[in-house]
Every structure is written in structure tokens, then in C-alpha cells.
């Protein structure tokens, strides 16, 4: 990078100074978060125990554990995946393998960008208007998961499309030349070679949806329930909403408890994210072509 012959001392000094400035800015972006995470661990870790994770809340949520919220988040995220992953993968296949460069494709891309950019509370309003009221699902796991699923759809579409397009076009052409149909080509060559990339995107989606609060607040997540949901038409507690409720709505919660909930939530989200990143790095290391 440094060619001593081309740079005089002054330039080198200026160069170093700017480089340092940008490094400091980068670190200033990351450092506060490291400190904050440290504080979360510091305050939250003492609270976390088996009983914290696997017991019901007691005494107006000031004691006991977070089990129904933990389980509820798992329900909500799983159902959102069931809905959005197949749809998102199919949409990505359309965009990557079938779509022509025309106004409709541009409209779809614009819709995806906007779907990703619409505020989460607007998604919540949509969930209320469409799923809770119009389709009469009521405030339920079903309505909340559908809302979450639509919100997460762009994540699945974009990551899947990227991994489909990473498969070289030459493979498709060789396959077509053999007389395979488009669909046979997709099924036998394109998908098998992008499945791990797609999985990376799905894990990322899990991490996003697990932390969402606003879209589930009015569509299916409850402040407190003394029992577990029995069907998708029941309401459920959720970790993210539980954190909001504990830190703003309930008086007399011991100080460590919300920290503990935040820590559990962030542990789920970040470990999913780290898994996705790790997965991607392993993949990059061993391409089959």
C-alpha cells in the first residue's frame, strides 16, 4: 500500500492522521455497544438461572421466570418462518430465474424495498386491520406470526436471491442444453448449490423476527398470561414485549430482572446472527466451483 518512493514524508504523515481519524470513528461506533453489552451482562447475568428460564412469572411479574415469554417467542418465530420462508424462496426464484427486465420486475423490487422500509408499527397496523379484524383471526399467534412473516419476507427474498445468483450462469446453460426444463435446472442444479446460502438468510430472519416488538403488540402478544397457548388462535407472551412491559409498565420489578430478560433476548438474537455469519464464512471457504 505504501510506496515509499511515491510518497514524501509529509504526505505519509497526513495519510496516517486521516487513517487514525477514521479508525477512531469506527471504534467509537463499536465501543459504546461493547460497553452497553458489558453492562447488560453485568446486571443481567446474576438473574439468569434455570428457574428464571423455565418458570412462570409470579406476583404480578415481579418474581418468577420468563418461560411463557420464551416459549411464545419460539412459537411466533417458527410460525412466521413456516409462512415466509417458502413464499420468500419462491419469490426469489421468480426474480432470479424467471423475471425479465421489465416494469413488473422493477415494481416487485420496489415493493420489496418498501416492505423492508415500512416502519414496524405500520406493519402492526396492517396486521390489526388485515389479520385481526378483516380475516377475523382475532389477536392471536396466527395474526402476529403472519404480520411478522410479511415483515421478514424481504430478508428472505433478498438473501435467497443473492445466493441463487451466485450460482454461475454457465451451469444453467449447460443444464438447459441437456434438455432440462427451467424447473428441473432450478431443482437439480441451482437450489442444491445455493441451499446453504439460503439457510444463512433464514437464520438471519430468525434473529430479526425474534427481537421485533411493535408488530406483535396488538396482533397477538399479551402483557401477561397465566397459561400457555393451546392453539394458533390463542394469544401468547413474547420476550420482546415482556422486556417492554417489565421496564415501563410494571412497578416494583427488581432492577436486575429486565436486564436478565434483555440479556436472554440479545443472546438469542446475537447467537443466531453469529451462527449465520459463521455459516457464511465456512461457505465462502469451500465453494464447489
Amino acid at each position: 500500500m505504501f510506496q515509499a518512493s511515491a510518497l514524501n514524508d509529509r504526505n505519509a504523515r497526513i495519510q496516517r492522521r486521516w487513517r487514525l481519524l477514521f479508525l477512531v470513528m469506527t471504534l467509537l461506533l463499536i465501543l459504546p455497544v461493547a460497553i452497553i453489552l458489558g453492562l447488560l451482562v453485568h446486571h443481567g447475568a446474576p438473574v439468569i438461572s434455570w428457574s428464571f428460564l423455565f418458570e412462570f412469572p409470579r406476583q404480578g411479574m415481579t418474581a418468577g421466570g420468563i418461560f411463557p415469554a420464551l416459549l411464545g417467542t419460539i412459537f411466533l418465530v417458527s410460525l412466521a418462518l413456516v409462512f415466509s420462508v417458502p413464499l420468500g424462496i419462491a419469490a426469489a426464484i421468480y426474480l432470479s430465474e424467471y423475471a425479465r427486465d421489465n416494469w413488473l420486475t422493477r415494481a416487485i423490487n420496489l415493493a420489496i424495498i418498501n416492505l423492508a422500509g415500512v416502519p414496524s408499527i405500520v406493519h402492526a397496523l396492517f396486521g390489526v386491520g388485515a389479520f385481526v379484524l378483516f380475516f377475523r383471526f382475532g389477536t392471536s399467534i396466527l395474526a402476529a406470526s403472519l404480520t411478522l412473516g410479511i415483515m421478514a419476507l424481504p430478508v428472505v427474498i433478498v438473501s435467497t436471491r443473492e445466493s441463487l445468483q451466485a450460482v454461475p450462469r454457465a451451469f444453467r446453460e449447460a443444464c438447459w442444453a441437456l434438455g432440462a426444463t427451467r424447473w428441473q435446472t432450478i431443482r437439480k442444479v441451482v437450489l442444491p448449490n445455493s441451499v446453504s446460502g439460503i439457510l444463512t438468510g433464514v437464520i438471519l430472519e430468525v434473529s430479526r423476527t425474534a427481537g421485533e416488538t411493535a408488530p406483535i403488540m396488538f396482533t397477538g402478544a399479551a402483557f401477561f398470561l397465566p397459561f400457555l397457548p393451546e392453539s394458533v388462535y390463542d394469544q401468547t407472551m413474547a420476550l420482546s414485549l415482556h422486556l417492554f412491559v417489565l421496564s415501563t409498565q410494571v412497578p416494583g420489578v427488581p432492577e436486575g430482572v429486565p436486564y436478565g430478560v434483555a440479556l436472554v433476548l440479545i443472546a438469542i438474537v446475537l447467537s443466531m446472527n453469529a451462527l449465520s455469519i459463521g455459516f457464511r464464512m465456512v461457505l465462502r471457504g469451500r465453494k464447489r466451483w
Partner: protein, 308 residues
């Protein structure tokens, strides 16, 4: 010549077989999935409008909505729906967030794209990505618990939930996305520009300032725009960190209330079909249109680069 020349070897050569039918069926299915994104975005608009329009036609007053700071939908004697304070609240928090996020995210993008190499670069990118993953409600909790105390201690003010708090939180939330998009924009500048400038003896910083940054101008602008869109639409963090009180702020230590936060805080207490309920959906419609415009503009700006 006719196809009779190949009667025995290839019967029914051009037959629409099962594979052909499966292909057509798959194509239709994928197409339906493809346009679902359009269906959903139109659906969002339609369903929110459906709930909000009765309010818009019966009660909505343009002058009141955009001109009054009195948001009192539950007042028995004189319910008013002035969103001005909420709009100003959202704008001030977003503005504060951009003051925090723009320099740091663009600086980080320059460092990651132009200076960092190899393992350092990968590590920084991963950290930025993890930063983007922290949920909104956790950020809100951080604002509520950690930042609140910090602001009270450092600035010696009575309330730590204010424009400054929400702005910093929102800035930290928007920065990773802005960094990623800005870094992509910088990476999209062809290396031959850099090589040409370096061959003339320019230092790396001169290359960045005179060649790379101008060439990536549009991408950087769209990164900022999307950051603004993100700040505008953020809900939980703003609800928890801004103090949530209706107020035209005169300093960064004033509490404010945001559009998104208002919906989140009040929707649970309204009766379906009431004016208050309709007013909240109208706020949602307003948010939807604004973010739609921001995203559209950002997209057009990016498209502008590709055309050049």
C-alpha cells in the same frame, strides 16, 4: 421434407410431456410468489387506509392535523388531533440521530472500505452486522436504564429521557445500516479510478477525497436517506427513550413524543372504529407515505449511479 423421415426412432417428438407441464406449473407458482410482494405493499396501504379513511372523511382537518400541537384524542369536552408536535418530535429525534450517525457511519465506511485489510476488515464488518441485529426494544431498554442515568449525571438535568437520549440511541441503531450501504457504495467505485490516481502519485487519502468520495456520492446520499427512513419509522426505542411527552422541544434536553410511539402507546386503549382509532391509522398512513417517498427517492438516487 417432412418429419416422416424419422418415424420409428423418435415418436411424438414435440410432445407436451410431464416435465413441460411441471415447468409451466412451477413458473406460475413462482410468479404468484413474486408478485406477492406487490400484493402485500398494496395490502398494507389498503388495509390501513380502510381503517383510517372514515376518520379522514368525518373528523380530519388538514389545518388541525398539521397546524395544532394539541394531540388530545381522548378529551371528553374537546378532542383534538393535532399532530404537529408529534411530527416535530419525530423530526427532532431523527435529526439528532443523523448528527450522531452520519459522521460515524460514513467514517467507519471509509475506514472499512478503503483502509482496513484482510482480517481486520472482516472483523469490523461482522461487528457492524452484529450491531444492526440488536433489537429495537433492547435499545429502548438501554435508553431507559443506562443512557437515562448517564445523561442525568453528565448534564445535570432532571429528566434523561429526551431528544438527546433517543437521538443517540437511534443514531447507534441507524449507523450500522448506513455503514453497510455506504461501504457498498465505496466498494462499487471501480479500482481503476484508484489505480489511475495512485499512479499519478496521489496518497490514499487524496485518492479517497478527490476520486472515491465524489464517485460514490449518490450511494452515500442514499445511505443517509435510508438512515433517515429508519430513524423516522423506529418505534419501540423512541417510545422508551424519548420521554413520550407532547412538546415542541426547545433544547435537546426536552422530552418529545414521536408519531410511531404515539401509535404504539395508544392503539391498545382505543375502541375499534372510534375517532381516536381512526386517527392512529391516519398517522400510520402518513408514516407509510413518508417512508415510501424516502425509499423511492433513495432507490432513484442509487439508480442514478448505475446509469452513469
Amino acid at each position: 421434407m417432412s418429419s416422416d423421415a424419422f418415424p420409428t426412432r423418435r415418436p411424438a417428438l414435440d410432445r407436451l410431456d410431464g416435465a413441460w407441464a411441471a415447468d409451466k406449473a412451477a413458473q406460475v407458482l413462482m410468479f404468484v410468489a413474486g408478485i406477492s410482494a406487490i400484493v402485500f405493499i398494496l395490502g398494507i396501504f389498503a388495509f390501513i387506509a380502510r381503517e383510517g379513511l372514515s376518520f379522514v372523511f368525518s373528523r380530519f382537518s388538514f389545518a388541525e392535523f398539521f397546524g395544532s400541537i394539541r394531540w388530545a384524542p381522548t378529551s371528553n369536552s374537546n378532542p383534538t388531533f393535532g399532530a404537529l408536535a408529534l411530527i416535530v418530535g419525530t423530526a427532532s429525534v431523527t435529526g439528532m440521530a443523523m448528527i450522531v450517525a452520519i459522521p460515524f457511519s460514513l467514517g467507519a465506511a471509509v475506514y472499512i472500505a478503503e483502509f482496513a485489510r484482510g482480517r481486520t476488515r472482516e472483523t469490523l464488518k461482522v461487528l457492524v452486522e452484529l450491531l444492526a441485529a440488536i433489537p429495537s426494544v433492547v435499545w429502548g431498554f438501554i435508553g431507559l436504564s443506562i443512557m437515562n442515568k448517564l445523561i442525568i449525571d453528565v448534564f445535570d438535568v432532571s429528566v434523561g429521557l429526551n431528544v438527546l437520549n433517543a437521538g443517540i440511541i437511534l443514531g447507534l441503531m441507524a449507523a450500522p445500516i448506513m455503514t453497510t450501504i455506504a461501504e457498498d457504495a465505496l466498494k462499487a467505485v471501480p479500482d481503476r479510478y484508484r489505480e489511475a490516481a495512485e499512479a499519478m502519485g496521489a496518497t490514499r487519502w487524496q485518492v479517497i477525497r478527490r476520486v472515491v468520495l465524489p464517485a460514490a456520492r449518490n450511494g452515500l446520499a442514499s445511505a443517509v436517506l435510508l438512515g433517515v427512513g429508519r430513524g423516522f419509522g423506529e418505534t419501540m426505542a423512541v417510545l422508551m427513550a424519548s420521554g413520550h411527552s407532547i412538546n415542541l422541544p426547545t433544547s435537546i434536553f426536552d422530552s418529545v413524543r414521536a408519531l410511531t410511539a404515539t401509535i404504539a402507546a395508544e392503539l391498545g386503549e382505543t375502541a375499534v372504529g372510534s375517532d381516536h382509532y381512526g386517527a392512529l391509522f391516519t398517522l400510520g398512513l402518513f408514516l407509510f407515505l413518508i417512508t415510501f417517498a424516502i425509499n423511492l427517492t433513495a432507490d432513484l438516487v442509487v439508480r442514478g449511479i448505475r446509469k452513469k
